[in-house]
Amino acid sequence: MIKDTQRFKPFTRDPIALVNEHGEWIGSFDLDLDDDQLRTLYRDMVAARLLDERLLLLQRSGKSSFAMEAAGHEGIQIAIAHTVKRGFDWLFPYYRDHGMLLALGVPALEIFAETLATKADPAKGRQMPNHPGSKKLNAFTVASPIASHIPPAAGAAISAKIQNTGQVVVTTFGDGATSEGDWHAGVNFAAAQGAPAVFVVENNRYAISVDLQKQTGSENLAVKAKAYGMPGYYLDGMDVLASYYVMQEVIERTRVGAGPALVEAVVYRYGPHSSADDDRLYRPKEEVEHWKQRDPIERYRKFLAGRSLWDEAWEAELREEIGTELARALEEAEAAGPVPEVWMFDDVYAEPLWPQVEQRRLLEEELGA
């Protein structure tokens, strides 16, 4: 059922990369992205990084309660946003994917509003920071329980197959997620059904403090695809071009009915697990420094510079522009004002049942007093 893909082989010994550490193209085929496309990838990675920083600042300044940094994950995340058909394909993201969603087209306003739980949050302030979602863009609202979105993703993909819509369902998650029973259940069902699902693990080698070796006995995560009869691509997720081309190929082979696939994108998170974490307890500084040398933005900047597509002026302009956009979005998000108390009783059901009606009344009494 699974056809061989054009350019890339699953189960390689080393992660697939197309740009080396010096920013040089090492692909065996010709790059076919135009200058604009190439620069947009860069722009979106920078925007993701800047958004990340803003979100951390909001937490540090006490305006939000929590932050989860994604710096180091941008290569694969931005590649996904650029290889799906926006607003047509479905995404099942996880909590570290705000940069991906921004690049996909989710307004920064909505992401900030979700973070601050203001009225501009399409989800009405119901969840913690880092749990965005967008119906308009078919981006399934993030849920906290790790891997719990995998069976729903399988279901959406099976639905797309049944209805023959031509959509592909792309699901992202961390290395830790692959240990959960739900992960197995969902991936297995999608594979048994040959559904158009692409599973992407953003492997940053840690589930909070637990390193890969304690998570699994397998040599890498791509190889887990064999258990489901799917191809498993081992990818340098900090190489945005490798991520772009691999995702493009994998998504399109899945779209034409070749069945699901697994992509292991090797990344690293530079920061702690979250604003509540202290990563010094479990990983050496040198390790962090080592991986920062492979930074997706810096590597790609060298690549662009080598083609005269980047200079300091453009960088400054870019940062200025994105910074302004983000600042405006944040302002708007804050201006919307906090979510009203009684919103907590809506959306439990399509229409409130009598317990919600009674309890809302009780709270209104209490607040009135």
């Binding site: 479905w90 949050d121 399409p122 989800a123 009405k124 119901r126 969840q127 749990h131 979602g133 967008s134 119906k135 399934f140 609202t141 849920a143 329980p145 719990s148 979105h149 995998i150 069976p151 729903p152 993703a153 399988a154 279901g155 959406a156 993909a157 099976i158 639905s159 797309a160 197959k161 049944i162 209805q163 029973g181 739900d182 259940a185 969902g186 297995n188 069902f189 048994a192 059904q193 809506d346 959306d347 439990v348 059901y349 399509a350 049942l353 009598w354 317990p355």
Partner: protein
């Protein structure tokens, strides 16, 4: 108008709903070729094909979770869990995904789906083919919960559940699947959630029940009538929402009340009803609200018929309530 069993009513209703709406799909273990281990989906795959009647891998998390994704994506899935006891491997999908999707997304995404499951004991199933886990569902905001006990209700309530925009857990007492036949109209009809059925009218005592214990409760009611006691008997049918109005009205009128159910007693749905009665109509009570329930043990095999409320146990309790 045809005469049919409860399980036949389920199969018939699924067929009607699949014919009515292409978005309705059925998924679960053995629901396709086999027609379900209880034959509740008999003939559906032959009629609607393997894309709409899906034999799934043996994974309740996959079944419930995939139903969530299908529902969010536009289908109206009806998932079958082979026995209610086996909902637990899929429990996280039910409580963390299905129940909370509308809420957490601010109604951007919803999960209009039904999770059907044969429940209850009395079939020599031991502790993993006999449980009635409704308390877990009722305690989980975001889920609606139905427990049927007659073929007629099964049709009307299953239609309502399938057309409902929220996830509905639909429990079918397996010992009643073939226990009685009843006339079920051919026409399309629905029964709203949250409406109790009055099974007997009376003023001496209110008997509240649902599901598996129906035969025992009705037999006990008959015995009582023989000795001149007229119980008001309510089959709740829907536990979330449940018909508080009908319950409080009846209790206020009769002053005496018993709640009968087969699930274990502690933190059960029966406890909820008793607590609500005590909280809202204390002054109308002439005797304590009594719960006759399953025991706080796993469901035993050898004592299959004694675990759930027997007619004797119900009548013993009635005596206490009436003599109070």
């Amino acid at each position: 108008m045809a005469t049919m069993t409860l399980v036949q009513a389920i199969a018939r209703t699924l067929d009607e709903e699949m014919a009515r709406d292409d978005a309705v799909v059925v998924l679960g273990e053995d629901v396709g070729k086999r027609g379900g281990v209880f034959l509740a989906t008999e003939g559906l795959q032959q009629k609607y094909g393997p894309d709409r009647v899906i034999d799934t891998p043996l994974s309740e998390a996959a079944i419930i979770g995939a139903a969530v994704g299908m529902a969010a994506h536009g289908l109206r899935p009806v998932a079958e869990i082979q026995f209610a006891d086996y909902v637990f491997p899929g429990f996280d999908q039910l409580v963390s995904q299905a129940a909370k999707l509308r809420y957490r997304s601010g109604a951007q995404f919803t999960a209009p789906m039904v999770v059907r499951m044969p429940s209850g004991g009395g079939v020599k199933g031991g502790h993993h083919h006999s449980q009635s886990p409704e308390a877990h569902f009722v305690h989980t905001a975001g889920l609606k919960v139905v427990v049927v006990s007659t073929p007629y209700d099964a049709k009307g309530l299953l239609k309502t559940a399938i057309r409902d925009d929220d996830p509905v857990v639909f429990m079918e007492p397996k010992r009643l699947y073939r226990a009685v036949k009843e006339e079920v109209p051919d026409e399309d009809y629905t029964i709203p959630l949250g409406q109790a059925a009055v099974r007997r009218e009376g003023d001496d005592l209110t008997l509240i029940y649902y599901g598996t214990v129906a035969p025992e409760v009705l037999q006990a009611a008959d015995e009582l009538e023989k000795v001149g006691i007229r119980p008001h008997v309510l089959d709740l049918r829907s536990l979330m929402p449940w018909d508080k109005e009908a319950v409080l009205e009846a209790v206020s009128r009769t002053g005496r009340v018993m709640i009968v159910a087969d699930a274990p007693r502690h933190a059960s749905f029966a406890s909820e009803v008793a607590a609500t009665i005590a909280e809202e109509v204390l002054d109308q009570l002439e005797a304590p609200p009594v719960r006759v329930t399953g025991f706080d043990t796993p469901y035993p095999y050898a004592q299959d018929k004694l675990y759930m409320p027997t007619v004797t146990r119900i009548l013993n309790a009635t005596k206490k309530v009436l003599d109070y």
